[in-house]
């Protein structure tokens, strides 16, 4: 080496950097909010489905706070976590509770999106399949199994590039009475990440993929805006939440 010349360092690829950038944003989103409120984001459903079926399978021993392990940003799944959730979801779909409306056959549908947050897993089946509707399953500790059905308001127009459409808010209640809310919808082309801002000021990072997004969080807050990341930067879009649907669920 001559005259303290700088040794070369190979450039990191754009993919590696963007992956770490997304990780950074998720981490600081998590640490920048009140952990007691917690939040979990999940996959999403289809705006093309005439009838949308939402089945939630929340399994595990009961605790005082069903959502203690919930996180407002996705995490890497543990080995077997996703396959276990998929199996539980399919079992729930195959055995609807008495009086509940019929559901789509999860086993006959493709997995559209999977989101994991700590021990919770949400699997979305059959999104963007016009004739089958969708099936979403959440599996996690401290909540006994339950399932819920709801009917969509029909097809909504696809969002434009860099935009998001919130198709449905589904209100549910855990065994111990704690409410939680699922949001599902679609994202336009170019959107690489979406963070939802709720009426209580908290933020939930959504899982996105296949033109869809899905999120859920403890409580009954609804969505007021979404920050959408594209290749040109981040923009904030105001959201008018649809009516929180709580009336058509069944266990």
């Amino acid at each position: 080496m001559n005259d303290l010349e700088a040794p070369p360092v190979p450039n990191l690829s754009d993919l590696r950097l963007s992956t770490r950038q997304a990780h950074l944003v998720r981490e600081i989103t998590v640490h920048n909010r009140d952990w007691r409120r917690g939040g979990l984001t999940v996959g999403s459903s289809a705006f093309v489905a005439a009838i949308a079926t939402v089945a939630l399978v929340l399994a595990g021993p009961g605790t005082a706070n069903a959502f203690a392990a919930w996180t407002p940003a996705p995490t890497t799944p543990a080995p077997g976590q996703v396959s276990s959730a998929e199996a539980a979801c399919e079992r729930a779909a195959a055995q609807p509770p008495p009086g509940a409306p019929p559901r789509v056959g999860a086993g006959a549908s493709q997995v559209s999106l999977v989101d994991t947050r700590g021990p919770f897993t949400l699997v979305l089946f059959g999104a963007n399949t016009p004739t089958q509707g969708v099936l979403m399953c959440v599996r996690g500790p401290s909540i006994s199994p339950s399932s819920h059905m709801s009917q969509s308001n029909g097809s909504l127009p696809a969002p434009g590039p860099g935009r998001l459409t919130l198709d449905r808010l589904q209100g549910e209640t855990a065994d111990n009475g704690q409410p939680y809310t699922i949001a599902e919808g679609s994202i336009g082309s170019g959107v690489t990440a979406a963070t939802l801002t709720l009426t209580d000021g908290s933020k939930v990072v959504a899982t996105t993929g296949n033109g869809l997004f899905l999120a859920w969080w403890p409580g009954s807050a609804v969505v007021t805006s979404a920050t959408l990341t594209t290749s040109t930067g981040a923009t904030t879009q105001s959201i008018i939440s649809p009516t929180r649907d709580t009336g058509s669920s069944g266990n």
Binding site: M1, D3, L4, E5, A6, P7, P8, V9, P10, N11, L12, S13, L15, R16, L17, T19, R20, Q21, A22, H23, L24, V25, R26, E27, I28, T29, H31, N32, T75, T76, A193, T195, K203, T227, T229, T232, G233, A234, T235, T236, Q237
Partner: protein, 197 residues
């Protein structure tokens, strides 16, 4: 609607509390420089990638305590990087859970060609670190920031929290030792790597 790509670094830092994506834009702008600094400081490319993530997590934690005196956040970020690398083991412990959540796709070589390039680069980094091992840690700091990261004397002073004159004198001393005109005492740099691992 605001576009983070058009905002200056101090604005992004101000916005970061309510809009984490603003801090993501800072990462986008400066992560390569921070990574290069960490790589040259440690001689370990894999470790440098994780330390880069740690630097930005630590910078976010400290953001309210800093008032940028420069349009660029890079001098401040390299100052954070200097402390993170110096205390690599402690930093890694603090952010271990966060590092565990980094997707696997962000780690390791992506191809045989990439692996070979990284191997050669690490050899070169090792030789460079050996070459400056005769300098004191303080002298290495200014070499890393001024000569290897292209900061101005003033920016290096900002990064290290020392007067500009001290940067000049340390660099002069480093050059004198390196050129053999001053007595040198060898300072090992490898503990930085071993400590973090």
């Amino acid at each position: 609607m605001p576009s983070f790509s058009e905002a200056a670094d101090p604005e992004l830092l101000t916005m970061a509390g309510g809009q984490p994506e603003a801090f993501g834009e800072l990462f986008k702008r400066h992560s390569r420089s921070v990574y290069a600094y960490c790589a040259r400081r440690t001689g370990n490319l894999d470790l440098a990638e994780d330390l880069t993530s740690v630097v930005f997590l630590e910078a976010f934690r400290r953001r309210r305590k800093v008032k940028l005196s420069n349009a660029s956040a890079l001098p401040w970020l390299l100052g954070v990087a200097n402390n993170v690398v110096r205390n690599a083991a402690r930093s890694a412990r603090r952010y271990r859970s966060a590092l565990d959540r980094i997707p696997a796709s962000a780690n390791g070589a992506s191809s045989e060609e990439d692996a070979l390039e990284r191997f050669r680069a690490q050899e070169a980094l090792g030789r460079a670190l050996e070459a400056i091992s005769t300098l004191t840690r303080a002298e290495q700091d200014v070499v890393l920031l001024v000569l290897w990261s292209d900061l101005t004397y003033a920016d290096a002073a900002t990064a290290l929290g020392i007067p500009v004159g001290t940067v000049r004198s340390r660099l002069a001393s480093a050059r004198a030792k390196f050129n053999g005109s001053a007595p040198a005492t060898k300072t090992t740099t490898t503990p930085l790597i071993e400590e973090a691992q």
